[in-house]
Symmetry: C2
Subunit: 226 residues, 2 copies
DNA sequence: GCTCTAACTTGAACATGTTCAAATTAACTG
DNA sequence: CAGTTAATTTGAACATGTTCAAGTTAGAGC
């Protein structure tokens, strides 16, 4: 059920032109208001041709995801190279998510819900999304490992995955955010990233050690089971 | 955009019979596989008639929500009357959620995603869902207030809302749970409810007081803003 | 250059959520 | 009981995601 890879140069061109049209239209009109016929028209191909490359309208969303992830990863490269304070790295990374996704704010809601469906092949927890999910988790791994913070090994193991979840939470908040310049979300990012880093620092307190072990082993069992 | 209330006895009957057919079919075939035509057929009315009472297929879901909430509230009454230990109350309440929703497990995925859409009138954070949301939050308020746990006032204020969110998280986990008898989710409930209660107990620790204040004021500002 | 095959393209056809103008029903008024 | 009106009911029509059988193209092998 994977997206069929083009086998010829003509195919590659068609695929690219369809995807480009889709991304444009999603941005212009939103996900639901963009019809497959409109995408085909804009791309200059027939309706059926679109379905040759993308099994469904939803599958175009996965490409949309990849597109924004690539933009995001590119955007934070300088930050990750320069900055070594964990709070600053995390804050910068999250801010960049928001900034990168801003052009798609209007679309994001319907996309989010489309993708939240566990039956959807595009569900972030599912198999089809694994390559991209792994990339995103790895990116957060780099945010942590490239910092000078001393993170206990058991925490460090689960942290990237946790931050990936955290990013989804922030994105869901951002979808609802109607404040000018999405300042509200930026405030929440500043506040929560600092809290997260502080909490990591507290994880070594003797009183918290028991709970921490339980939280981590619970998370581990959930991840491993799937 | 609210659901049109019937004005005559005939109307009441029609509405009830349509809703009943929808709930049955959702259970039998799932949300997506249930067509509006099938609902109308089963109810013995015409397609257009269904739309007279329910503006969209999604609106039928809200009724579905209310239905399960009522079942749930009824199911935990004895527990809440008898038990006063917070952990036990919370555990029992969450277990009852899963048990109550079990017949709808197959449907729950698509419903969840439908409802997760911020543009949907049924979004749990939106206006249309407010009456039901308030009821659910109030129920968790009772879970807390009826217990003998000593909860700091500022924590107690945000706790019901937090538990409502927690319930949604558990439900999302449950949707993915394919273990026999949904035992996996029950385990997670047992583990997390205990962690929550323990965390509440820790909230008074001097080292945590600062973070606690910040978390709570952040949550408060988010809730008040909306 | 010819043939063959796989890749690609096409548009009609289908299913389903939704809309709407017209028809029907029931209840109230005189 | 006749007339009026509002509620209800109907089914045809529309838009859009998706499928598919048939047609077209381009490149590999000879």
């Amino acid at each position: 059920m994977a997206i069929a890879a083009p086998k010829t140069r003509r195919g590659e061109t068609s695929r690219a032109v369809i995807l480009g049209a889709a991304l444009d239209l999603f941005q212009e009109r939103g996900y639901e208001a963009t019809t497959m016929r409109a995408i085909a028209d804009r791309a200059g191909v027939s309706l059926g041709s679109s379905y040759h490359y993308f099994p469904s309208k939803e599958h175009l969303v996965l490409e949309f995801y990849r597109h924004t992830h690539d933009l995001h990863a590119e955007a934070i490269k300088p930050l990750l190279a320069r900055e070594h304070d964990l709070a600053a790295r995390l804050r910068g990374t999250m801010r960049a998510v928001i900034v990168t996704c801003e052009p798609f704010h209007a679309v994001a809601g319907s996309i989010f819900s489309t993708v939240a469906n566990p039956a959807s092949p595009l569900n972030p927890f599912g198999a089809a999304a694994k390559p991209l999910r792994d990339e995103v988790v790895a990116l957060y791994g780099e945010v942590v490992s490239g910092s000078d913070a001393r993170v206990p090994a058991d925490v460090a193991e689960m942290l990237p995955l946790t931050l990936w979840l955290y990013q989804m939470g922030i994105l869901y908040f951002w979808i609802f955010d109607k404040s000018p310049g999405r300042l509200r979300t930026l405030e929440v990012i500043d506040e929560t990233t600092e809290l997260i880093v502080r909490l990591i620092g507290l994880a070594n307190l003797p009183v918290l050690r028991g709970s921490r072990r339980r939280v981590l082993s619970l998370m581990k069992s959930i991840v491993d089971r799937d």
